[in-house]
Structure formats: structure tokens, C-alpha cells
Amino acid sequence: MRIPLSWLREYVDVTIPVAELAERLTRSGLEVDSIEHIGGTQAELPWDPALVLVCNILEVTQHPNADRLVLATVEYAPGNTHTVVTGAPNLYEYKGLGRLTHPLKSVFAREGAVLFDGHVAEKVKVKLKGKPVRGVMSDAMLCSEKELGLSEEHEGILILPADAPVGMSLVEYIGDTVVDIDVLPNMARTLSLVGMAREIAALTNQTLRLPNPAVATSGADANATFKVTIATPELCPRFTASVVRNVTIKPSPFWMQRRLIMAGMRPINNIVDISNYVMLELGTPNHTFDADCVAEAHIVVRNAHADEQLKTLDGRTHTLNPSHLLVCDTTKALSVAGVMGGESSEVSDRTQNVLVEAAVWEPTIIRRMSTAFKLRSEASKRFERGVDTEMLDLAQRRLCQLLHDYADGVVAPGMVDVRSVPVRDVTITLTNAEVKRILGLDFTAAQISDLLTPLGFGCTVNTSTSLEVTVPSYRRDVSHTADLCEEVARMFGYDNLPSTIMADELPTQRTNLALEREHFVRDVLSGAGLNEAITYSLTSLASAANLDPAEADATNYLHLANPLSSEREYMRRAILPTLLESAAVNLRERGSTRLFEVGRVYHRRDDAILPAEPLRVAIVMAGQRTNASWHDAVPETVDFFDIKGVVELLCERLQITSIRIAPSDADYLQPGRAAQLIAHTGAGEVVIGHFGELHPDARERFAMPTVRVAVAEFALDTLLELANVPRYTSISRYPASSQDLALVAPVTVSAETIAASIRKYAGAALSSIELFDVYTGANLGEGMRSLAYRLTFRSSERTLGDDEITKLRAKIIRGVEHETGAKMRA
């Protein structure tokens, strides 16, 4: 809501500097978004009070050497004249008329004045300098609105009202300050100058001055000529209509246009401008019909018929249905109630008599219609938030007075007034105990009354601890003691209330183990060199299909009813696709990528309207294993064993033991370099997820064709449930003894099979087993592989003797050879 201070001052005295006013407003919930100065010293373009003046144009003559220029003789101070060269087309009509008989006021700028350049689109400041123009000295000018920074208008010079005082500085005449305020949805009462003035009066201890227009009336009473029928009383609490005859359509007065412009509205003509002016002044949207277009002089408020059509003022034709509310006559629809007028009854140049509607509509119906028709107007904005039914009388009087004064209208006596809902006073009992319970501070009933009364609440103090509060008609947002507590706090000042530490009992504190472990996983993975990404939960089927074409089945997905783009249309079922998209960018930009993400995926459930939201962890690694440097100019690139190492680390750090890794046949992984993580749970074996190298086809689809891309995605909830607290094992005081074993077996015998066999035959004396070499070569024979292990033996009770170790070694070799078919390497 844009508030020009000169306008505001009609209703309340502003006794403090504007910056202080702005701070007080902001601290009372009326957040000041900006303060715009027009013409004054703080303005974007200050008008020098000595150099930019109101002038009167005395005579306009042809420039001797240029067809398109004229010379204007202006009086810029009583008795002082000056000749100005100008090309303003709006002066051509006065050319050669000699001394003008009527005042023609404009803005005169003298040499040295700083103005905007009227000839360029941007705002460029220029200082006025004297120079000859086609042989005539030009050291002053008449200004356009654009040159003064008032608008973009540069077609002609600004013409001021005839009564503008010659010689007055322009800044004194129309300089102003506009305060722009963000009005919260529950502060609809301040969507008007008067409403804002009421708040300011309460905040600054001033008195509100309501307008009290006097209207001269004549002719037949409005009630005798017009009839109003409300068919839907629940949707129209009050409807009023006035009749003004013989209006003249013309521009509205300069001051009204200035106020509308400063408030952010465009002047159209006197009828439209008066309507908007009263809406801004009093917060009551209203509508003016061409009275002669209302069939049978009978207004009917009713629901639309099925498929009824109405062409609105913006030229669009709407097809209506019975959920819509119309203002009609007996034959046709005239307007969408409270939202927009129709063309058929629009005020035009031929209009003679007008019917002025000021009504209040049920907020919900207005909101539904303005949403459905995409017609958000200043009127609908106010109706949606609630308009004061008791302001309509004043609004009608004000409308009639302005139509009389500025449209030459003849106002009919009387006002058609249909009230569907009787006025009902809301009274709330408020105790100081309740105020203390909510706000935490002791007030007496009298203090509460002193805080609420300036806002218009009627307060009757019953006892020192209780009062009756009557809510004014413009405060329908207040219905409960909590609302009154807010008003008490607001008027007292939020910053003046105490700050306390909660004295209430501390609720039982419980650990959130799953969350702690989730954070632990993030720490482990970032410690392992992976960067944490958070990618969109919203994705496309195409992206899912890039990982696995079988995943592009829309029926499995939650689908947005109103997506913003086709890239973000479905709720993801897996993290990898969006993470791989990020990885591809990183690979392109940095030559490597190491990412993980912990987040939810969304799985439709047939038996519930809400999806399951399991937690996942996904990892992508590709490109160089470490950053290239002078230590290692060409680091090796990531492969299967890098991601496996991360998976092993994660399981070890979480102390997960009931788990195994087996080959996987996941379609998106490269066969032979694909594994799955399988957990042994009470319910049997559960696949926690897959990891390995991305299939070359999938790599191609994600635009990462050249390097191996290692990926993993696991069900993190399940993984976290398997986590354990580490158990300490005692550290032996006795020396260790190590033995190397190189075993040759077909490659089809997995390394884990051989290691498991070694462990089995080594028994408790084995403290560690480490695979230190894997070798395949022609000398071993086709399909054979050598695995070299270093076994470390250590007892916690004694030093193991050489004989013992030798015997144990022989036992292990016998056992492993027998069990796995492996042979000691020769």
C-alpha cells in the first residue's frame, strides 16, 4: 500500500520525521518496504527550489528559424518574464494567439537546474546550460513529466492547474514523500488512507479526522427509481446504490491524478478515478454502472446460470456456472460481483447517468472467483480480506460528492440499502490473567484499556482484573482473546516485553539414534573424500530412464498436478539419477567427481494416500582418484575397488557384521563389476542395495562416456538398524609372528572363499589376514590366479613357538587345499 504523506495528512497529523514514522510502523506490524521522495532533497531527482518553479505561459510565438519550435514567454515570478525555446507539441495550439487570456501553468527550469534527459530511455541527469538553439538563446526550459522524474511522459510539457501559484517552487507545490507498506493479510483495515491514518493516530497519540463530505441532492429519490434484489443474502451482507445524473466525462482534477499516480494507480477519467480514489481513501471498492444500461432499473444479485456468458472490462469473455456470483439486471449479467465490471454497462463517453454500487461480499466467493478467472484486482484483494460494512454510508456520500464536484453530476437524494446480515457487535471478555498467561507480563485492566482504545476498541473495565472489549466493525480479524493479546503486545511494543527463559518443566529427553547415525554416515563419507550434495527430490522420467529404462514407468511415481517444468515433474524413487546429472557436470568441469547424498525417496503405496519416504544414501565417484599435483602428475582413475573400499569403510565404521557382498545383476551396472550388499536380518536376507561400475550404456546416457563411473545406492534406514557399538578386544602383550601364503586357484574360486577357508583352519591364533598380491600370468596356466596372503598370528596368553607356527601353517595349507582346490604356489 503506497501512502503519499500529503494525502495522509488530511486524516492525521504526522508529527514525527518520516524515518521515525517508518520505524514505528514497521515495529507495529506495518512493514515499510520503501520510502520514496518526490522532488525533495532526498529524492532521486531533487528539484532545486530556486531554479524549478511554477510559471504561467503568457504568449506562444513561432521560432523564427525552425518550424517545429516555438518561443514561449513565461512569467516565472510575479512581474518577471523570460523567453523559452521549446518543441512541446501541446503548445502549438496557442501559437500566434497573442497574449493568452487564460492562465496556462507549467514548470519553468532555469539555467543550472538538474533534470533528467528527456531524450534517452534511462534516467540520466543533466544540468541545464544556456546555448543558442537555431539562433535564439535558450537558457531555460519548460519541463515534461519525464524531465522532472514524475513519469515516462515526454510528449509535451507538464501543464499544471490554472490555480497553481506562479513563482512557487515546484517542490513546495507538488513535492511529496510516498511510504510503501507491506500490508499483512490480517491487516486489511490498513488497505486505505483512512485505515492507515487510524493506526498512525493510535501509534503516535494523534486524532483521526474522518472525511465528512456534504452532498447537495436534487431530483427523484434513488429508492424511487432503482430497485435492488439480493437472491443470495449469505454472499452479500450489504449492498448500497446511489444515483448521479447528468455527469460529464472528462479528466479528473490534477490533484486527484497526482494522488492516484503516487498511490500506484493510473488516472483514466473522472468517473473511474473517483471510484479508485474512494477505494484508496476509505478501503471500500465500488463500481459505477451506466444507469441507462440497467434494464428495468432493477439490480439483481444472483448466482450465474450454467454456461452464462459475460464479457468483462478487460475484453475477455467468461463462461460462468452457478458457483459464480453476479450483479445483474432483470435481463443480463452486469458484472462479476466484487471482481470486475462487464462491458455492457461500462461507463462510456455517451454515459449521462450513473448508478454507483458500494457493497460488501463474502470473502470466500470473491477469492474463488478471482482465482478462477485470474482476475486479481485492487477490489478483489480488499474484498477477499474483508471490507467494513459500516463504511459504505460514508463511501457513498464521498462518491456522490466527488461526482458532483468533478463530474458536474446531479446527485439523487437517498441511497438504496439492502442489508442481508444484521450488524452484530462482537464483545470479548479479557482478563489480565489471560494476558499474562500468553504474554508473560502483568497489566491492569485499565492499562489494557488504554492500549486498546486508541485502535477503536470499546473497552469497559469491569474490575481491576477484567474488561469487556467491543470490537469495531473494521476489526473483523479479531474474534478471540489471543487476537486481543496481540493488539496489547503490539501497542505496548514487542521490544518492550520482557525476554525470559522458559520456566516450564523440561519435557522428557529422548535420544534420536537414527538421526545421530545418519549424521555419522555423513561424517564418515565426507571423511572418505566425498562431497555432500543435495539434489532435487523432483525429477523427470527421462532422467530415471537414463539410469535404467525400466524405471520410466509413470505408474510407480508420485506425479505433480502442477509441475513448474517437465524436468521437475515426478518425485524421485532413487537418488542416483539426479546425483549422476551433477556428477556429469563435475566431471566435465573438474575432471573428477566424488559425491554422496543422504536423502529421502518417495514410493507410492497402494494402501495409503501418502507415500513411503525411505532414507537412502547414494555415492558417485569417477575420474582421477586424487587431485593431480607435482607429487603425482597423472593419478590413477577410480574403479570398482574405490567404491567397494568406501562401502567397506562405511560398514566397518557402523560396525555392521551381519552383512555380505555378492555379485549383482542390476541392469544399470556393468556385468562383472557389479555387487550387492546383502544383510542377514531376523527376517532372512535383505538386499540393501547395489554398487559397482555404471554400465557403459548408462554412462553414455548421462554424457560420461569416457571414464569408469563407480556408483552405490543403499537403503540407509535398514543399514542404520544394523549398526552396532564397537566391542573392545584386548591387545596382546606377546609378540606376533607372520607367515606368507601364496595360493593358486581357478579365478572362479572367489577370493572371499579362500580367505574364509584360511580363517577357518587358522582358528583363534590368527590375528589378521591381509591379501597383498593378486597375480595372473601364463606361467600359472589358463584361468588360474595366485592370491598371496600375509597371515599374522598372535596369542593373548603366550609367545607362539616356531614349531607351533609351522604346524599351524601346514594345517591351514592342507585344509584350504582340500576345501577349495587351491594349491600352494610353487
Binding site: M187, P363, R367, A482, C485, L497, Q509, S526, N562, E589
Partner: protein, 348 residues
């Protein structure tokens, strides 16, 4: 020449020779030449027996004195030589300390994660525990139970993504705020007091720009009990602001509007970039919005299972991304969910 004179000559010669020695090999040779079993002094000492017996003790003492002098000189020279050798070895082993080191490969947490942890840690110290709730919610939980009926103008405050559902089925949406978690948490705790913090992802139907994202995190907190006041809310938020922005951080409480709180408040902290003087980041106001909050609306308390005439409570919410952007001077929110490591690697 007497034995003593010969001894003096050997001493002089030995000391002179020692002066010229610079290697450990040469000093070893010197030692065996003069002090060894077959060395010059040992050889001469064998002639002591030829001296008259009364002269022998004095001569013996003289021999011992010369040995001591040469031993000492040897030790000193040897130390000098080994130090020089070490110095030379160090010189050969020296590196250019300005060459880059071997960086361990360490990843970074997402900046939002870090800030979320800071926020939850601060509130944990005040007894707020983390409570999580679904991201996909019903219209009722996201709006209705929070005192935002359909067709309420306040709905304009949340542009909403809806999920396609069967005609006539209950409306399902992506939560626009973590506030539905208030209802879940209250219902799980009522009538016991509750003090929880609700972090999580939220979504808004909003064109993505440098300042607006369709997805973002929110942290919401609620405290409900029989003695919770607006002043407690102020104390809690001031405590939070001082932990996050430093002791003595100036705060401003402004009336605001949220349908689920009454009274409602907006917490501003003094802009830490311009110290309140006004700058581009704080839009010249000198203040930064940090949190929207208020006393939980009686209707919402009732929907959460508490009698609003007996219980009261407060709620507050804040955006980790916004706090992160201010903290690190990030000017474009779109980096947060890009997964771009050029962005992620910038945070510690």
C-alpha cells in the same frame, strides 16, 4: 732429547695435525697414530722404564696430562667434523617449503547440513529435540489443521505443489513448510509438554531465481506446556540469535502474521555486514529477517490435542539456506542443489 721433550714434540705435532683434519676417516687415522696402542705416545711411554725411578712418577703424570689434552682435542674436533657432515647432508635433503603439500582427499559437508547442525545444536542445548515428519502431506495437515482453511487469503503466502490424486480423494501436496510437523509432534506428546525442533525439506511452487528455490530447508521449533509465554519465545529466540551471531547481537521483534500463531512475530537481527548502517544485503534497513514466530494459535493447539485454555506454546521457523547465504555471502541460491563441487568445495 729427553723423553719429556719428545713427548712435548709429539703433543705439538699432534695438535697441529688435528687442526688440518676435516674428515672422519682422517681423524680416525690421527687417533690411532697418536693415541692408539701402537701410537706415538704409547711407543714413547714404553721408554719410561729407562728413567731413574725418582723421575718416573712425574713423567707418568706428564704422559697422562698430554693424553688428556689430546683426547679432549680429538673429541672437540670430531664433534665439529660430524656437525659439518650433518649440515652438508641436511643441505642435500632440503626442500622448497613453498612447494604444495600432499593433500589428503577429504570431502565437505553440504553448507545447509552444517548450518542445520548449528541450529539444531543450539536448540538442543535449550532442550529441543529433533522430530522429523513426512515431506509429502495432506492438504489438511499442511493447511487445514494449521488454521488455514481453503479459500483463505493467507493461502497466497504458500504457492503449493500438489500431487495428482484420484478425483474426490483427499488433496496431497509437497509440504510448503515444516509446520505440519507441529501437529504430528503435538499429537504424539499431548498432554505432556513438548519441546521439539523440526528440520526438513520444503517445497514451493515458485519460479527458480537467484533468491527463490522450489525446494529448500526449514527448521521449525515448538514448545508447548502450561506456562509458556510470549516472553519465553523472545528469550528463546534472543538466546538463539546470540549463539548464532555472537553475544550482544541486537534484535528487533516486529508484529507479523501467520495463521497458525497469534500473536505473531518476525525476528530481525542487526545486519552483521553493515552493523545496522544499511547496505545492499539488508536492503538499507540495517536489519536481517531471521525467523517468523509466534504463540501457537488456540485452534492449532486444539488440533494438536491440547486444551488452549490450559496449555500455551510458541512456534518459530527459519530457513537454513538464507542463514547460510548471509553467513557466507552467497548471492545465488541455485548453487545449493546443483551438486556442483566447485560450490560444495568452498565450505569447510
Amino acid at each position: 732429547m729427553s723423553i719429556i721433550d719428545q713427548l712435548a714434540a709429539i703433543e705439538q705435532a699432534a695438535l697441529a695435525a688435528l687442526e688440518t683434519i676435516t674428515t672422519s676417516d682422517a681423524i680416525g687415522e690421527w687417533k690411532s697414530n697418536y693415541l692408539g696402542k701402537q701410537g706415538a705416545i704409547a711407543k714413547l711411554s714404553r721408554e719410561l722404564g729407562t728413567l731413574p725411578s725418582d723421575q718416573r712418577p712425574a713423567a707418568g703424570q706428564r704422559f697422562n696430562a698430554v693424553r688428556a689434552v689430546l683426547d679432549e682435542a680429538f673429541a672437540a674436533r670430531e664433534a665439529t667434523i660430524s656437525q659439518a657432515a650433518q649440515q652438508q647432508a641436511f643441505g642435500q635433503d632440503a626442500v622448497d617449503v613453498t612447494l604444495p603439500g600432499r593433500l589428503p582427499v577429504v570431502g565437505r559437508l553440504h553448507p545447509s547440513t552444517r548450518v542445520l547442525r548449528m541450529i539444531t545444536d543450539i536448540f538442543a542445548d535449550m532442550g529441543f529435540q529433533v522430530w522429523e515428519s513426512p515431506e509429502v502431506e495432506t492438504d489438511t495437515l499442511n493447511f487445514g489443521l494449521l488454521n488455514i482453511p481453503e479459500d483463505h487469503p493467507a493461502r497466497d503466502m504458500w504457492d503449493t505443489f500438489y500431487i495428482e490424486t484420484a478425483p474426490g480423494a483427499e488433496k496431497v501436496l509437497l509440504r510448503t513448510h515444516t509446520s505440519p510437523g507441529q501437529i504430528h509432534a503435538m499429537r504424539a506428546h499431548a498432554p505432556n509438554p513438548v519441546r521439539v525442533i523440526l528440520p526438513g525439506k520444503c517445497y514451493r511452487y515458485e519460479q527458480v531465481t537467484t533468491r527463490h528455490e522450489m525446494m529448500f530447508h526449514q527448521v521449525e521449533g515448538i514448545a508447548v506446556g502450561q506456562h509458556i509465554t510470549f516472553s519465553d519465545l523472545k528469550g528463546t529466540l534472543i538466546g538463539f540469535a546470540e549463539r548464532l551471531y555472537g553475544a550482544g547481537t541486537k534484535t528487533r521483534f516486529r508484529p507479523s502474521y501467520f495463521p497458525f500463531t497469534e500473536p505473531s512475530v518476525e525476528l530481525d537481527v542487526e545486519c552483521f555486514l553493515c552493523k545496522g548502517a544499511g547496505c545492499r544485503i539488508c536492503k538499507q534497513s540495517g536489519w536481517l529477517e531471521v525467523s517468523g514466530a509466534g504463540m501457537i494459535h488456540p485452534t492449532v493447539l486444539r488440533n494438536g490435542g491440547y486444551d488452549p485454555d490450559v496449555y500455551s506454546g510458541f512456534a518459530f521457523g527459519m530457513g537454513p539456506e538464507r542463514i547460510t547465504m548471509l553467513r557466507h555471502g552467497i548471492d545465488d541460491i541455485r548453487w545449493f542443489f546443483s551438486g556442483d563441487e566447485r560450490f560444495l568445495q568452498q565450505f569447510v
